[in-house]
């Protein structure tokens, strides 16, 4: 198993606090990797460090063996596509214009719209199933459509790796599945996909590789069938649960509340 992205002992955080303290993790090439963990465990910080959005204070991030934070930003943008958590939609921008923005790293002032750009934008619109919306303003779209447009923008970047920070947040269940199905298709085409997800069952169903985090450290990493156990969920989330095989896919299915009468609150799910 080769690693597309590797972190070696990274220390990263924000001005007033350190979030990741000596974290080392590998993201396997060509797989769908999902990062899980409770709120404020450092999932997003890890993703932002892997995406070159945040420079670690110490340690290195390797992209195919090269120091990510020393590579030129433009080159990185042709190899890593990023979808931040809640990107700002520019006022009045159309779907095609926004998706075309994904071509920025390939464009120069003398080459503002090459045939490769046209091709990549058309393909990205089609892959994300938003070709019909091309001339619509992004503001006018529903949350699910909008998310697919952002994914299309990252696809237009034509990168081998895609990083997404909670791509399903604020979407209803049908749209969540739609986005996850799309990501899995993209991964099966040969891309490396890394996403932060909140829903353990979705993580178990879609991921080839799960990274479970708590307090800025990796608790476990591996295929969901091997690592997603009741013990891990208790350890990471402090939640009692039963893990059963999913009746549809056979992947681990996490059912909160192991018969204990005390109410457990997690992610808006209350069980007694």
């Amino acid at each position: 198993m080769t690693a597309a992205l590797t972190t070696v002992d990274i220390i990263a955080g924000y001005e007033d606090r350190t979030v990741l303290n000596g974290l080392s993790v590998e993201v396997p090439t060509g797989r769908f990797t999902v990062v899980i963990g409770p709120n404020a465990c450092g999932k997003s910080t890890l993703l932002r460090t892997l995406a070159r959005l945040l420079r670690p204070r110490a340690g290195t991030v390797l992209l195919d063996g090269a120091d990510l934070h020393r590579l030129p930003p433009r080159e990185v943008a042709t190899r890593l596509g990023v979808l931040p958590q809640s990107p700002l939609v520019p006022e009045g921008v159309t779907v095609a214009e926004l998706v075309a923005r994904g071509r920025s790293p390939y464009q120069r002032w003398w080459r503002q719209w090459s045939s490769a750009d046209a091709q990549a934008v058309a393909t990205a619109l089609r892959l994300a199933d938003v070709a019909d919306l091309a001339e619509r303003p992004v503001e006018a779209l529903s949350g699910g459509q909008r998310q697919r447009v952002w994914i299309a923008m990252a696809l237009a970047q034509d990168t081998e790796v895609l990083l997404l920070d909670e791509p399903t947040t604020y979407l209803d269940l049908a749209h969540q599945i739609e986005v996850l199905d799309l990501l899995r298709r993209l991964q099966r085409d040969g891309r490396t996909v890394i996403a932060v997800l909140h829903d353990l069952n979705q993580a178990a169903r879609y991921a080839d590789h799960v990274i479970a985090m708590r307090d800025g450290a990796v608790v476990a990493a591996g295929p969901p069938g091997e690592i997603l156990t009741a013990a891990l969920v208790r350890d990471v989330f402090g939640l009692d649960c039963v893990v059963v095989p999913c009746p549809v896919t056979g992947a681990p299915l996490v059912v909160p509340g192991a018969g204990q009468p005390q109410p457990v609150i997690d992610e808006g799910v209350i069980s007694a």
Partner: protein, 387 residues
Amino acid sequence: MSARSAAKRSPAAANEGVAVSARSAAKRSPAAANDGLAVGADPEPIATLPGHLVGRAGPVSVLVHRRALLVAAALGAVLAAAVVASLSFGEVTVAPGAVVRVLVTGGTEYDLIVRELRLPRTLLAVVAGTAFGLAGALVQSVSRNPLASPDVIGITQGAGLAATVALAGGAAAALVAPSALAGGLLAAAAVFALGSRHGLAAQRFVLAGVGVSFALRALIEIVLVSADAIDAQRAQIWLIGSLNGRGWTESAGVGVVLVAALPALAWAARALRTTALDDDTARGLGARPAARRLGLGAVGAVLAAAATAQVGAVDFVALVAPQVARRLAGTERPPLVGAALAGAALVVLADLAGRRLLAPVQLPAGVLTAAIGGPYLVYLLVKGRRS
């Protein structure tokens, strides 16, 4: 499309839905990265971006927003008409046809009035308005805020304070403009320094500017109050912003800076493309948001300070002109050329109105632009509340 929808319904078939075999092979070799996604995978690439025109010559391609181009052409026509009107009207009215004849061939009885008396002042209005429009477009784009402009974030006030000190101190008239230019640039430097944390975050940058602008305003008042009455009067007139009695020298002062800024503006036109995106998204596309904001903001500050130094604080032009151009063009940020033309037309018309409305009393152009700017802000407020 139908094959795709079918693939979507059945996860098992997902792999067949998108056959992009060339991808992985191309990916491994960085040299081939530019060849794009799976050539041939899509039978109908969109030849151009909807709403845009593509100009192509061999490997060179230029992408232009169609409506922004039309708006620029229309604003150019408005500016031309405003310039002719400005040259026509005065104590002696020269017919527009005669104005054009004077400009093209010369040798008419109106040569003196049009060329020597009116043209210098009109030219100054054009170059100063252009600089204000461009400066506003740059500042509004980097701050992602339609209410930010050089006169809101302290650059105009910095120039004003320096000019006030120079005038109140009895400095030679020739020193006022250079002092104002330096003052404007110093104020901009202070804003950048104060806003520099968190990679010059857009919000922080504007707040720092508003703070600096109020502090400088207070200092201007203090200097005015403690100055000799006549000097204070001269400073007051300077602060309002007027083109009265100004011409070739001042035009050259602004023009030199505009010409010198042309390469920077050419760069800006490209760098602006990702300014409407948030910093993380822009960074993901290979941009350097902090460096870009500093660069674009600095170009805007230089243009605003240069124009303010020559004509004084002609308020609101830098605020209104870019937004007029943006609303007309329907773009996500002010288009540079449109903003420049709108700024120029606005100052020419404001100066013309100031000269003629209460003739023979001359109102400074700055009074007229402020009179337009106030209601415009109210309009923005009302419109914002509705949506």
